[in-house]
């Protein structure tokens, strides 16, 4: 019994010695998330517009039903998303939209600071997603 007590105490004491803290002083000091981290979405732009061809695969595959797409045709006869919205309050960051996309028009970035004050601020429109 006493051996176990001593063992427990020695473990905590070892942690007390300098160099064991793993905490980061967050707002001033930030860690880089891993490349595979799934943060905020991004619509990939090509020359003059987004790559998206409004095929509706991403809202179909989305388990949280958080993507809204409305397609339209531009003057060159190409399909494009007139409306492309992601409701981040519903999004579960599963990445299925990225996998489903046939033209690699949507990807997930490492942005993780997504806190906001109003519900409306979590609605990511096409313009915000293209940034």
């Amino acid at each position: 019994m006493f051996r176990e007590f001593a063992k427990g105490l020695s473990i905590t004491f070892k942690h007390l010695l300098p160099g064991h803290s793993t905490t980061v002083q967050y707002p001033t000091e930030k860690l880089k998330p891993s490349d595979r981290f799934r943060g905020l979405h991004r619509l990939v732009p090509t020359q003059d517009r987004e790559k998206c061809v409004a095929c509706y695969l991403c809202p179909t595959v989305c388990p949280a039903k958080c993507i809204t797409v409305e397609s339209a045709e531009n003057e060159k006869g190409e399909k494009y998303p007139r409306v492309y919205k992601i409701d981040l309050l519903r999004c579960i960051f599963c990445g299925y939209c990225v996998e489903a996309c046939p033209v690699e028009a949507i990807e997930m970035t490492g942005t993780y600071e997504l806190a906001n004050y109003k519900r409306e601020d979590f609605e990511f429109t096409k313009e915000r997603l293209l940034k």
Binding site: G8, L9, I11, T12, H15, S21, T23
Partner: protein
Amino acid sequence: MTPEVLSLSNNVPLFLASMLVKILAVFVVVILIVAYATWVERKVIGHMQTRLGPMRTGWHGLLQPIADGLKLFFKEDIIPSEASKVPFLLAPMMILVPAFITVAVVPFGPDLVIGDYIISQQITDLNVGILYILAMAGLGVYGIVLAGWASNSKYSLLGGIRSSAQMVSYELAAGLSIIAVFMLSETLSLRGIVSAQMGPLWGSISFLPNWYIFSQPLAFGLFVICGLAEINRTPFDLPEAETELVSGFCTEYSSMKYALFFMAEYANMVVISAIAATLFLGGWHGPFPGAINLLLKVFAFMFFFIWLRATFPRVRYDQLMTMGWKVFIPLSLANIVLTGIVVVILQ
């Protein structure tokens, strides 16, 4: 003229002034230790759990106690409408006050000779010092029962009752364990006990001091553990029991009144550390001048208590009671018998 002991009979104004200075000094030191113990605790436990603890206010969070105090003063203070107001307000004080008045009998340094008078570095020396400490420690229980009862909440009432059961049973064991100390020193005055611990160990082993931790290791261990349980420190912090009883006796308390309970916890830690240092570690004796020795011993004990808190999980209530009644009390009784036999043989 040879210096004489300063008392009410030979110099009234000087005596009163010296008392005032001593009381203020002890009070301020205890308050400072209490305030910064909260910071040290958060820091030490933080590092033991491989995180940093407070870092934002001041250098390494050094101003955190002040910020906490300010916050607590400005928080909304709620008294439940059906609570018994007077006992509800009195309870936090009932817990805090005994902790502070117990320090009055702890000697914190050698006698000073100032002018024609000898001034002792102790607020007062009672010839029944230890009994006074045990009596005052017993008062803290009233605060807890009162807090639980006056809150008019069943959780608080149950929490208060079982906390008092815990404190009373460990008080018994703590009281019994220090009997062995005054069997050896043949005095109840703390000043006498400290001076009995002067000189080399058992008058012959020169590299060790004659501290009772060497003659009474079992009593020392029992006193520290029982003291810990009596002041409700982790791993014996069942009165708080936030998981089972929604913080037990203090569920209904908020703001500064809630903070008083936790001030009392830290003040009690200081008191138990100071008493353990006085009874078993030679009080203010040591390599450094005067009160610094006692302070260092108190800090060592408090670090140990914080260390325990970072290491061990809370015990279950039945384990706690079994340990108190079936292990600690018989052990301390056996220790008294053993000490008695040794004392008689040595005479």
